[in-house]
């Protein structure tokens, strides 16, 4: 069992050429037939975890399609990218899903976007593209332009047929929810009251971000679209992207800029966790809890507005640094606000979590064992609630996190309540981190002096979003553009795990379980309930299920 970095790299060298692309990040180029072996070793033997699969059309650079499987090794504090090439005429690569079930969606996405076929994949169906998307059109291939996609393929007339209610959407209401925010579908198969199987149908919010970024935007415009991947934890995406480009171009970011980034990241984490608590209370019918947590959260939002000029979508980053400074007055104000928030939360939130209804509806519900969590490669608070200590801030430090003292809360029970506790602890960890950051912020510049980005270099940006690790792989391109940019949000890894958690649970607990991973589509709304015995299908809203028995 190799433990040191040196030993790991030696082992990797047996499989293919190894190259260091930047700090703590190595790329191993292997033949297609060895992909399965090396991935299995990285994920199951070396204690790393599978993070993302990136497809890429590199026919313009070297004439091949490429696949990158990214693994994070927490123990050794390094990331390893497994790189394979596929024949441009018939792109075929062996699938790693049979070994690492967590790679399922990633491979299907690469199939959707590039037409790369993964051999022995259990279910290589369409995942992301809209229902009326024509066959054999792969949007992220470089030989099809955004204009072609828009004007040839976007045909609103197909809408008319679909807009009529079908069996699946019996109720003429969209997949929307009053309090939660994005439309998503879960199909639950029930036997009486018990959920026996679940399926996810989603990606209503697929907006074609990668194509827009690769075709229209320049390197310094992408931070702004990256921020709009998610309106709740957008800044982590922004930072992850900037870091990826900075690593690729070997730009040294001033320390003050790093501190400012960390400060805003932690502010975002607090606001996101408080938001989640509010939503959870709302789902459990405790509206006063919702109101009171959001009341505290509003202070954080105001603070963000004072520091950045906007309540959300801070727009603070460019490649090489940050755009605004935090002066002494603002530091003082932030510290005061944090004290107030901490006091309020200790007073209110802890009491709310002790309420009987809240306890009885979260404890021992939605179990995810450590093994399942490893299999599906879940990240963030979900993993930490299942006993896996993983935190990018600790094990792959970025921004100013290397210089901070903090604990990573880990709970073993793997139920909804431990996810609640992990987030509860994290809020206070964040507050203590923020205090350290604000007190020790060094003087200096905000932007790196020399910001030039060479072409065709790879960079891997990691951040710990409120929901788990964010990972951005960037391949820089010509003319101040990026060639390939693949952001992966944490919910992408976490959402499949709800399907495991839901099995065998009571139908009424489904909403709390789905919300417990804090899905970035945040809301989880309509559920298609399929009765296995009777074969009937009907659409329900989570909220209704949460109240009662659907017989």
């Amino acid at each position: 069992m190799p433990t040191s970095i040196y030993e790991v790299l030696e082992l990797m060298r047996k499989y293919g050429r190894i190259e260091k692309i930047h700090k703590d990040t190595y790329i191993v180029e292997v033949k297609a037939d060895k992909v399965k072996d090396i991935c299995s070793i990285l994920h199951w033997k070396l204690g790393g975890h599978f993070s993302v699969t990136v497809g890429s059309d590199e026919r313009l650079i070297n004439g091949y399609f490429a696949i990158y499987h990214v693994f994070l090794l927490d123990e050794q504090k390094i990331s390893i990218i497994v790189h394979t090439k596929a024949n441009p005429a018939v792109p075929k690569i062996p699938s790693i899903t049979p070994i690492i079930p967590g790679a399922n969606w990633h491979e299907r996405e690469a199939h959707d976007f590039f037409g790369i076929v993964f051999e022995n994949h259990p279910n290589l169906e369409r995942l992301i593209l809209p229902y009326d998307w024509p066959e054999k059109v792969y949007p992220l291939r470089k030989d099809v332009s955004i204009e072609e996609l828009r004007f040839k393929i976007l045909k609103p007339e197909t809408v008319k047929a679909k807009a009529k209610p079908e069996e699946e959407y019996i109720v003429p209401i969209g997949p929307y929810h009053p309090a939660l925010h994005e439309p998503e579908y879960f199909e639950l198969y029930v036997e009486g009251e018990r959920i026996v199987d679940a399926k996810y149908k989603g990606f209503h919010v697929h907006r074609g971000i990668e194509k827009v970024a690769e075709e229209r935007l320049t390197i310094n415009q992408i931070p702004f679209i990256a921020e709009r991947i998610c309106g709740i934890c957008g800044y982590t995406h922004n930072v992850a992207y900037c870091q990826a480009v900075e690593y690729a171009a070997n730009i040294d970011v001033p320390l003050r800029a790093k501190y400012i980034r960390s400060i805003l990241l932690e502010i975002e984490r607090i606001h996101s966790h408080l938001l989640w608590f509010g939503v959870l209370f709302h789902l459990l019918g405790f509206d006063t809890g919702f109101m009171m947590t959001w009341l505290v959260r509003e202070k954080i939002m105001d603070l963000a507005e004072i520091l950045t000029g906007n309540r959300k979508n801070y727009g603070m980053n460019l490649v090489g640094g940050v755009r605004r400074d935090i002066n002494e007055g603002k530091i003082k104000l932030s510290l005061e606000t944090l004290d107030h928030v901490e006091y309020k939360l200790r007073n209110i939130l802890s009491k709310m979590l002790k309420l009987k209804e809240i306890m009885s509806r979260t404890k021992e519900i939605g179990l995810l064992s450590r093994e399942e969590a490893r299999k599906l490669s879940v990240v963030g608070p979900v993993a930490r609630a299942s006993g896996i200590s993983t935190d990018v801030r600790k094990y792959h430090p970025y921004a100013a996190y290397g210089e901070l003292e903090f604990k990573v809360p880990v709970y073993d029970a793997g139920d909804v309540y431990s996810r609640v506790l992990v987030r509860y602890d994290e809020i206070f960890e964040s507050i203590s981190m923020l205090k350290q950051l604000l007190k020790n912020i060094p003087k200096g510049d905000l932007m790196a002096e020399n910001v030039e980005v060479p072409e065709y270099r790879k960079g891997l940006g990691l951040t710990e979003a409120p929901r788990g690790e964010n990972i951005h792989l960037v391949i820089t391109g010509r003319e101040n553009k990026v060639y390939r940019w693949r952001p992966r949000a944490p919910s992408y890894n976490n959402v499949p795990s709800t399907l495991v958690m839901l099995k065998g649970e009571n139908l009424a607990d489904a909403p709390a379980i789905i919300a417990s991973i804090d899905p970035c589509f945040s809301c989880t709304d309509h559920v298609v309930v399929v009765d296995v015995k009777r074969g009937t299908r009907r659409t329900l809203r989570l909220k209704e299920i949460s109240r009662g028995r659907a017989r």
């Binding site: 109720v171 019918g285 329900l540 809203r541 209704e544 659907a550």
Partner: protein, 297 residues
């Protein structure tokens, strides 16, 4: 003739007051959540707006879907006429206690029938749930009313009020149990089911819109006031002078609604099986109350 007029005053007065009571509840709830809250007349504004909006019907509805809101409304109005409220006069006849039980139960059933006939799956599930709660809670209400009848030895509502004196343990217990049942039956948290909570209207009401939604919501507010009235009648002394008794009634109505909404604000929702379990534990207690009421303890 005067009695009829007074009963009419009761009903018209309650029709006017009820949305204001709901407005007060919303205001209090908002205050307890650190909000300013809507104006007290807000529920009236909502209802008036609903009455002026058209009703969209579903594609596959049948007759009960259209008429049941009005049947429910009529049911509740008739039930209100049976109880003394603003004026201490009511329609009174032998066995009206049974009629009251029937009216409360049938309003739930007609709501359920109406939403089942909307042809929407959503509403059907809501109706299922309504029935599963109603069967239990109506049984409990019938048992409580039975214990009152035994205590006073009469099947006429007039003769029941007020239940005390005699100050027996069974009388006090019965009143407390009725208060709990009124709380459950008026769909307060943690026993809330979809249609009562003003912020979240779905379930049974999902397919109703405009006028019929307004009528249904109005009936639900009235039903809540009906239960409160019953509770007040059980304790309010009978022989007060007319104006003072009306005032006492209105004050205690507001008091009860404020009390209930304050309790509600600090509860989360129980899962329905937990709620049903709680209600089932009430059955043996009720039976004990009936037995000791029989022996006038």
């Amino acid at each position: 003739m005067i009695a009829q007029l007074l009963v009419l005053t009761n009903i018209v007065g309650l029709l006017l007051i009820t949305p204001i009571i709901d407005g007060i509840e919303r205001k209090i709830k908002a205050r307890l959540q650190c909000r300013r809250g809507p104006p007290i007349l807000q529920t009236w504004y909502d209802l008036l707006k609903l009455f002026r909006r058209p009703s969209i019907v579903t594609e596959e509805y049948s007759l009960p879907y259209i008429i049941s809101p009005y049947i429910v409304f009529a049911n509740i109005i008739f039930a209100l006429a049976l109880l003394p409220s603003i004026t201490r006069v009511s329609l009174s006849f032998y066995g009206d206690i049974i009629v009251l039980t029937y009216l409360i139960a049938s309003s739930s059933i007609f709501i359920a029938i109406g939403s089942i006939s909307s042809g929407s799956v959503f509403a059907t599930i809501g109706a299922n749930r309504e029935i599963s709660i109603a069967t239990l809670s109506k049984l409990l209400i019938a048992l409580v009313l039975a214990s009152f009848a035994i205590l006073k030895g009469s099947l006429t509502l007039e003769k029941l009020f007020p239940i005390m004196p005699p100050y027996t343990i069974s009388a006090i217990l019965a009143i407390v149990l009725f208060a709990i049942l009124a709380y459950i039956e008026s769909y307060k948290l943690p026993f809330d089911i979809p249609e009562a909570e003003p912020e979240i209207i779905d379930g049974i009401l999902v397919e109703y819109s405009g006028k019929s939604l307004g009528v249904l919501k109005y009936s639900m507010y009235l039903k809540r006031v009906l239960l409160f009235t019953m509770l007040i009648d059980l304790v309010l002394p009978r022989n007060l002078p007319p104006i003072i008794s009306s005032l006492a009634y209105i004050v205690s109505l507001i008091f009860v609604s404020i009390l209930f909404v304050t309790i509600e604000t600090y509860f989360g929702r129980l899962r329905i099986d937990q709620a049903l379990k709680f209600m089932k534990t009430l059955i043996p207690i009720l039976l004990v109350v009936i037995v000791i009421a029989y022996f006038h303890i």
